[in-house]
Assembly symmetry: C2
Homo-oligomer: 502 residues x 2
């Protein structure tokens, strides 16, 4: 991977930590930084990071160039290749590392346990990526390219940024001090983008391997470039695919049109029936297990700067939709959704024209879930609805998704929360805001359930970075900021936990 010299240079520009924190502090007019031990130590880490920018970028691009699309079987070897790449990297740092079989794609486990008597921090990320619609990309999605201070490529943000930033932070300590301030374990998943099918069972079987006192989720995002944030809630998810069949074959639209059912029409009628005029989900019982937002949650949402037009500008939408009795962020974080994520029937190649009545139609659904909703229950309600609303002449078959993520909430009156907040405050020069997300990370639920710890999100993806879409990118500046935040977090946690022991 050759990177243009100019762009590499722009990445190389060396700012020392004080410059960063001071400039942010000036901008945000937050309190001036006090001289703390952790901060002076950070100067040496910062030097290391800046001296190794070029090597880091090279490695980052290496990992992004592996097409580890977990949901497409043809990419099985690529997913394994990415896992092996990470294991090699971990070993090169002096960590013990291995891939664990899961029944599906491997899980990567890494550990450094030489901080005797110190707590252990577990870092979660995922190295698998979403599929691509290659025609919509400006570059080949797995030939990552650095342009305008950004790394373009599938997974560059979601979530190879989480993998690389945490690896670079570990490297920084080990190469600078020869040790980490705490014990560190990593758990990097290869099936997040297909619903974390085997994560829970693998974690359950390897509880000891991943035992830890604290956990971080590196698959997280900041509210925007200047505003650090901590994730307080995740939605769950459920997926399904269904096929509407009206005939064994496509039929000539002249020869049969007027007496033969049309699967594309039947499918459209079914999809239309899933929604009310107000934009809510019309499936009976869909909202039954939704618990209304608490006053505190509503208050949190009201405090967050939310610019509808900015959001619309990002996607190029011309309207914001959904039930207006809820605030937009409330709909996004605290209300469930049903989305059609794929729809196909008949002849749809860009060129050519086939005058047929399609015999079958396919649709895929993803629901985002909240409160006590569960994937299997929601899928069953949708199946019931479709069966009941099937037009004459249509039959239906289902492929119910097997990977479900549960919704999850986090607490803010814990030291776990405060350690993350302190690191963000230090690097960004202001206290993080609390946010929710409309997305799902089932693995965090599994970590809580199997290890008894909350994996607070500490990730540096940004909402405009086109996760799951064409031309995904990650800001190069976030790499440096991310490594420094992780360094501060680990050192600060070590210091604070030592004080508590005394």
């Amino acid at each position: 991977m050759t990177i243009s010299k100019k762009l590499a240079l722009s990445f190389f520009v060396s700012l020392n930590l004080l410059t960063i924190t001071n400039s942010i502090a000036q901008k945000t007019k937050s309190k001036t930084s006090k001289k703390e031990p952790v901060k002076s130590t950070l100067l040496s880490y910062e030097k290391y990071i800046d001296e190794n920018n070029d090597a880091h970028l090279k490695e980052y691009l290496e990992l992004v160039s592996i097409p580890s699309i977990s949901s497409i079987p043809e990419h099985k070897a690529d997913v394994a290749k990415a896992a092996d790449w990470i294991v090699s990297k971990l070993k090169s740092l002096g960590m013990t590392a291995q891939t664990l079989p899961t029944g599906g794609h491997p899980m990567v486990s890494g550990s450094w346990d030489k901080a005797v008597g110190k707590p252990t921090v577990l870092i979660y990320a995922h190295y698998d990526v979403q599929p691509v619609k290659e025609s919509e990309w400006n570059i080949p999605p797995f030939s990552p390219k650095v342009m305008d201070g950004k790394i373009f490529g599938r997974g560059s943000s979601d979530d190879k940024s989480g993998v690389m930033i945490s690896l670079f932070a570990i490297e920084t300590f080990l190469k600078t001090d020869g040790k980490l301030p705490v014990n560190v374990k990593v758990i990097f998943e290869g099936e997040e983008e297909m619903g974390s099918l085997n994560f829970n069972s693998t974690l359950e079987k390897n509880k000891d391997l991943f035992k830890a006192d604290f956990a971080l989720n590196a698959d997280g995002d900041m509210y925007n470039e200047a505003t650090p944030s901590i994730l307080m809630s995740l939605r769950g998810s459920a997926t399904m695919e269904f096929n509407i069949k009206t005939a064994n074959t496509d039929a000539h639209s002249g020869q049969f049109g007027g007496k033969t059912p049309n699967s594309a029409v039947a499918m459209s009628q079914i999809i239309a029936s899933l929604f009310t005029k107000e934009g809510n989900v019309a499936v009976e019982g869909f909202y039954d297990k939704v618990i209304p937002a608490t006053l505190k949650e509503k208050e949190m949402i009201r405090k967050i700067p939310y610019d509808k037009t900015e959001d619309m500008h990002l996607l190029g939408t011309t309207a914001e939709v959904g039930d207006a009795t809820f605030l937009p962020l409330e709909r996004l974080w605290n209300r469930p959704t049903l989305e059609i994520i794929g729809l196909q029937s008949g002849y749809t190649a860009p060129e050519g024209h086939s005058n047929i009545i399609p015999g079958s139609a396919m649709a895929r659904i993803t629901c985002r879930l909240v409160s006590n909703q569960t994937g299997p229950e929601i899928n069953a309600l949708i199946v019931k609805h479709i069966n009941k609303n099937l037009p004459a002449g249509a039959t239906v078959t289902y492929k119910l998704g097997q990977g479900f993520a549960k919704p999850m909430k986090f607490l803010d009156d814990t030291k776990e929360y405060r350690y993350v907040a302190a690191a963000l405050n230090e690097i960004y020069g202001k206290q993080p805001i609390q946010i929710g997300t409309g997305g799902s990370i089932g693995s965090l639920v599994s970590i809580k359930e199997n290890l008894g710890i909350y994996a607070y999100s500490l990730g540096f993806e940004l909402p405009d970075e086109r996760w799951h879409s064409a031309n995904e990118f990650f800001r190069i500046s976030s790499i440096r900021k991310g490594i420094l935040t992780y360094c501060y977090y680990l050192q600060h946690l070590a210091d604070e936990e030592s004080k508590l022991k005394k």
Copy 2:
């Protein structure tokens, strides 16, 4: 192309004409055949046909193996190749032949004009074919294969059967007698499957070249294997494609789900709005120019044996749909339709899973038209409907089809009709029934408008031969039957016209 010997032999089985007509006559208990001059002449043609079965089949497969898909630009050279193949064949028979430029795909013109003082018969067929969904075929669609007395391959029935049968009939006369009983011209189109975009203008420019007294349409079908039929009406057609856009890009369903419009849902709502609960088209004004069927037409329909279950068995449908106040064949032949022929949105590859809110959705529509409906008018009504029913946040763009076919009706009190009927009666041993079709052949309208003659259909496709669908086939037995019918028709027409002159 190697044809298995066994199958070639089954095609080779020689039945003389008397055997055919007698056996059909016996089955149908029609009047025993009288000794006519035309019939004894036919015996020598029949001998030629049977002796050349193998060579004919070889040529037939050659033409079917050329992927002349007119609507896909990548196949432009293939369409030209098919045209050149036919021109070579015509020339090898001793006809003058050429390809005519049309602005699109070439038109093939052929002529034999040495029957001085005799009338001229123009034969229409088309050599282009529909696109293929290759995954649904049991064989590669352009590697035609003979199985079970059938030729499988795209275009084997629609309409390379029309091209080959008419060519073989001409060949039979020229190789047997050294002449044809009348002057014969052929006009073979290369753009029928894309709406005959340039047929009318090309014909208009070449009126003299195609001037004729009678015309036949070889792109026709028989009601079933035992029941000859003459086409009395064609529906017209209009096509369009439209795109619903809700965002500039697909969006993460978690990150945006709950406030961002979904194009697949918007599209489904629009499509659902196009139909009434009864299955009629809900577009305002859609039926305004439909003239109700005459009593004679209704009577014609009632007389036709129509087995709903047979039709449903053919396609594997479980219900017959449409407005039950009209008979099924009335809906098919005398009522207009609106079909969704293609529908696509989001990530729909068979494997992989992309949790996105699709930013755009595409649908293609084909309408079949009757009476005084015109394509541009109908498309305009649909555009108006969609614009009016656009959900919030959705914008729409249209690609209106440029190839429209007008509806057309034929008369049965003409000698043109009687010559066709006589030939079918002779070969099938019974009078043809009168049928309509739900399909469209705009070229026949152009022939009427430019040359002033009705092109009566004389084609041997059969309704179960999967025109436009996967695994299209043509019965080998229909080739022989078809050639003989054409031979009888041309000879009989020559004889009758001579009598009229006397």
